[in-house]
């Protein structure tokens, strides 16, 4: 009886008693969720355009951030190293398309997924040889102190991350809706064969989408790195993006954002209010169980395309 009360009722009583604290936790969670969204965004872009479940997205985030930090530490100015990292990510996109995707065209999804695991191993090894396995602090001049609004503490860095994510999503939406390449990308996402038959070059599109995913990875990596330092053990953080994906749907950009916010908020609430009752570390799996239960009711995620199957 006591344990039931502690799990089912107790946390809500705590919440009701301290509304300011609840809002603080909620905002902290939502802002953390923005970070997840940034990682999930890269997954969605690639899955939409090429049907590849890109496990290496998490590694790409760290690889981009690590390269950026490495160049800064080598003494390059911020802008120049930014350009250099973007160049590196574009080269990576070319390499992936040429050496992995093109030979594996028409293979089943699971084979493509495994190949991205291979890419992930490759990047981890390469990144550590180039830049070492230590934690690199990343300071890009964003103030990191807490900000107090109406008695509620907000981490400034998280706020900037939210702004960056918002800008990025807006820019991507504009790019997808208003440019020629964006339209081609949407066409490919809708139907590969139809896109090819109206003359859209699939190979170039793949390079393009991997390059864009690389840039999103860079943005995510810089924001992650600024708050936690850059190190490959953070790779697991990228796994947090997966429940975001299934919540939001693999093919939906708004889904990635909303999913990220939901995961971030519920995870923090779970850790802060239920953690003391059932043990700490709830964060590790809370989002997954949430996503699992959610999927039982809506198998395609919040905004995913309805899966229609015909025999």
């Amino acid at each position: 009886m006591h344990i039931l009360y502690a799990i089912l009722i107790g946390p809500f009583v705590t919440m009701a008693r301290e509304p300011a604290f609840l809002i603080e936790v909620l905002i902290g969670g939502l802002l953390a969720g923005v970070m997840y969204s940034l990682v999930a965004l890269g997954f969605v872009l690639i899955y939409k355009a090429s049907g590849v479940f890109n496990y290496a997205q998490g590694t790409m985030v760290l690889f981009a951030a690590l390269t950026f930090v490495g160049m800064l530490e080598a003494g390059l100015p911020v802008l120049l190293s930014l350009v250099a990292v973007i160049a590196v990510m574009i080269v990576l996109a070319f390499a992936v398309e040429r050496m992995v995707l093109r030979p594996l065209v028409n293979q089943s999804e699971i084979i493509l997924f495994m190949s991205t695991l291979g890419i992930s191993y490759f990047l981890v090894g390469l990144g550590q040889i180039l830049w070492g396995g230590d934690v690199h602090p990343l300071d890009i001049g964003i103030p990191s102190g807490p900000l107090t609004v109406h008695g509620i503490l907000i981490n400034q860095l998280d706020l900037y991350a939210a702004i960056v994510a918002g800008t990025l999503v807006a820019a991507l939406a504009l790019f997808f809706q208003k440019t020629r390449v964006g339209r081609a990308l949407r066409a490919v996402a809708d139907d590969h064969q139809a896109a090819m038959s109206v003359g859209i070059p699939l190979k170039q599109i793949w390079v393009f989408i991997w390059a864009i995913a690389g840039l999103v990875a860079l943005a995510a990596g810089i924001m992650w790195g600024a708050s936690l330092g850059v190190q490959f053990s953070l790779e697991l953080v990228a796994l947090k993006a997966l429940p975001v994906l299934i919540l939001g749907g693999f093919t939906s950009i708004p889904g990635a954002i909303v999913g990220g916010l939901i995961v971030g908020a519920t995870e923090k609430l779970g850790e802060v209010f239920w953690g003391p009752v059932i043990g700490s570390g709830v964060e590790d799996w809370f989002a997954y169980i949430l996503a699992l239960i959610f999927l039982l009711f809506r198998p395609q995620g919040l905004f995913g395309e309805r899966i229609i199957q015909r025999v």
Binding site: M99, I110, L117, F122, F250, L292, I307
Partner: protein
């Protein structure tokens, strides 16, 4: 010339439906078992037995389990590590709570408990498919590992969170776990489990059960229309697969490492076993064994390579280079033979059949 079924007429249904209908396969299997049971323990030294052959059979069993689920029934799972942990911790709890219980029974019971857990996490598979399901099985992975780390009851309140296998013997005094266990006994013990379960799997996949699984894998709606129940078929695949994986986990904890913590079964373990079945061949019993051998031997080979070449490089560099080579090898392997090592074997058999003619 050697491998040709010409002249082998099957005159009864029993002969036609045998597990190995071709005589060469039957004798080959027998010879293989004889080599494994007698020649290997005589020839191999302790190091080979306990650090290569025992983990090889443990991994093969786990790969076999995952192959039943992913390769035959088509349900992609990333929760293998979590299910192995269930097997390991159940076996530990049973062995310490009932000291008189035969160790074989303990392992089978651990497999059954894992099967029940697998059944539970298999329920969403009716509604969700493909990568959605794969990510959903990650829930099992993370939740189970967290459970075994956080709840001290599972580790019998050991302060370090490490469980150590109590000494147990089979047939009275042949110790297979604990300090007195001989590598040869451990080897025979794991080999027997692997051989019996592999034979059972081979039998299962050629019969009605396996055909139902494959029908669901190839197209679930079509399978449903011809009268296969998706729910029971998928759940059975989850249960059988988890049974195998649970026994593999128990063998890992008791026979291979003797003491283990829950984090040994983390997500990397799941990926490792997934690699095994991809490289070995999806939907192939033989492939599970070949893939396990490949993934076990590759790091050992990569570790020794610099020494063999006479190069002296730092430990950190070697680990990182290993990652790079591992990743590159996986990608190039997938490009060269997406159907795995088992497909190579199949092609080889076809060639043997026609030899010395090319067509």
């Amino acid at each position: 010339m050697l491998y040709r079924e010409v002249g082998q007429f099957r005159t009864s249904y029993a002969a036609d439906q045998a597990i190995f209908p071709i005589r060469q396969d039957r004798f080959g299997m027998l010879a293989l078992l004889l080599v494994a049971y007698i020649a290997v323990p005589l020839m191999a030294n302790e190091y080979w037995l306990s650090t290569i052959f025992v983990p090889f059979f443990v991994f093969s069993l786990a790969a076999l389990g995952l192959n039943i689920l992913t390769g035959y029934a088509g349900q992609l799972s990333l929760g293998t590590g979590g299910f192995m942990a269930v097997g390991a911790f159940t076996a530990y709890k049973l062995a310490t709570a009932f000291p008189g219980l035969n160790i074989v029974l303990v392992f089978v019971a651990a497999g059954i408990v894992t099967a029940l857990v697998g059944l539970l996490f298999g329920i969403p598979s009716l509604r969700i498919k493909g990568f959605y399901l794969a990510v959903a099985t990650l829930a099992a992975q993370f939740f189970l590992i967290w459970l075994f780390v956080k709840v001290a009851w599972f580790q019998n309140y050991s302060p370090s969170g490490v469980i150590t296998a109590p000494p147990r013997a089979v047939f009275g005094h042949f110790f297979v776990t604990g300090p007195e266990a001989l590598p040869a006994y451990k080897y025979w013990f794991t080999l027997t489990f692997a051989a019996v379960l592999a034979l059972a799997a081979k039998n299962m996949v050629r019969g009605a059960t396996g055909r139902k699984w494959m029908a669901i894998r190839d197209m679930d709606i079509a399978a449903e229309i011809i009268g296969i129940r998706p729910l029971s078929t998928k759940l059975l695949a989850f249960a059988v697969s988890s049974f195998y994986i649970g026994i593999a986990g128990a063998l890992w904890a008791f026979i291979y490492t003797a003491s283990v913590e829950a984090l040994a079964f983390d997500i990397d373990r799941s990926f490792q076993i997934l690699f095994m079945i991809i490289i070995g061949g999806l939907g192939s019993i033989l492939g599970s064994f070949l893939g396990a051998a490949f993934i076990i031997l590759l790091p050992i080979f990569l570790n020794n390579l610099p020494d063999q070449l006479g190069l002296h490089v730092g430990v950190a560099l070697v680990t990182n280079l290993q990652d790079i080579i591992y990743g590159a090898l996986i990608v190039s392997f997938l490009i060269a033979e997406p159907n795995g090592l088992a497909a190579l074997w199949r092609i080889g058999k076809e060639k043997l059949r026609l030899w010395p003619f090319p067509h």
